[in-house]
Symmetry: none
Subunit: 130 residues, 4 copies
DNA sequence: GTGGTCTAGACCACC
DNA sequence: GTGGTCTAGACCACA
């Protein structure tokens, strides 16, 4: 967690959890780490983890079984994808296009960098498998 | 100015000024509007404009002559481009790639949307010329 | 704080903080007083303290943890010394030499006054220890 | 003149005039440059030069003959020395000593640097004579 | 006219 | 509790 980032820590934690779910590291109905454990792992105040979990419950990404712990919601992946896609197409992409134009960056360069990204990404996955 | 945006107003003003410089509407050594004038134009408190100008001075995008006013720095365009490119390549682009991967969005779709963006952008410029 | 000094109050506060750090009264990673607390202690407006802290953050003398407070940066002492030495050798010392020459003041007199300064300084420290 | 310096321009001009007098480049009863001429030479607004001259008149460093111009006062050198010495001993020197102490700079180093300064100063004067 | 500083007081998000 | 932002209004020095 980055304590000096402009993004709130509880949102950083929520993103951390969402990434775990999107990459299927945590699957639907899986039990996710307890508030205390995650707080220790991420070196933050348990209240802050609690707030992130509450936020994710509200979004129906996770749910809580009293006395048992928090679990990944059945359609967590769909919900997260929905939110992120909206953010992506309505905010990030227009901003990207504006930058390409103002900074005189060609679309070709983006394509090349994306290809490189894919290659290094695949390579890393292969290494992890071995 | 967007008063409900999460981004601070003074940063929005700074971006507003940078855009004026990048599009060459304001050129190096030009005098830019006084704190009070811009405050009236943008309907904000003069202190808020002052804060934006202070921030831009620190970044060496503008400079101040005692009692005369603020002026566009000689290499303002280079400085702004530098900052924005760094932000673009180090944050926005990796974020884009990560999104494409996690959200299962094809690169082709981005390309189509960019072409559409360019068309509507050109169209608008032609309308402004007339 | 000296309200009639030509030097801005927020800069006086910044100097106050730097002196605390240089004398090791506040050490690296220590939490420094909150904006509101220092404002009460120094009898100034919290905004003024905030401005001093912003300035020091920009200089990387202190840093901020979200919701926790401001802390002395790891190399604060080095940073401050660097700035002050630069100011000293590039401005103050040439100014001193120019004065000695134009005002016909002998270097010996400076030496005598410095010895007296050291004596009174030591004396005061001894008194504080007791 | 430095338009971005914290010191007011009219004070910079006043210092400029005082230096000329202290170095005896301009002698008592000499006519000094007209407001217009000095304004052109220093690339500033004539009003600003006027303000500097008014300030120096008030200090009895220069005086004005109506329709003729400004002249160096008989005891200009004494007056200037007086002011500067006061500033020197009451402000600059204590500040210097405090810096030496906090920055751990030995007095010996100052002495060496002063000797070097004198040598280069003499050398330059010899060159100017030739 | 220009910027620069300061105050008082408010509201907000965050930990 | 912490900082961060904004407003309204004041005063000052400077060109």
């Amino acid at each position: 967690m980055n304590f000096n980032d402009k993004q709130a820590i509880y949102l950083q934690i929520a993103d951390y959890v969402c990434d775990k779910i999107l990459t299927a590291e945590w699957r639907p109905e899986d039990k996710i780490p307890s508030v205390r454990d995650l707080a220790i792992e991420l070196q933050v105040n348990p209240n802050t983890v609690m707030r992130a979990y509450e936020y994710l419950q509200q979004l129906e990404v996770i749910y809580n079984k009293r006395g048992i712990g928090h679990h990944v919601a059945p359609d967590a992946k769909g919900v997260i994808s929905g939110f992120r896609k909206q953010l992506f197409f309505e905010n990030e992409l227009p901003q990207l296009f504006k930058n390409l134009e103002l900074l005189n960056i060609g679309f070709g360069e983006i394509q090349i960098r994306f290809d490189n990204y894919l290659k290094s990404s695949e390579k890393q996955q292969n290494e992890n498998k071995q």
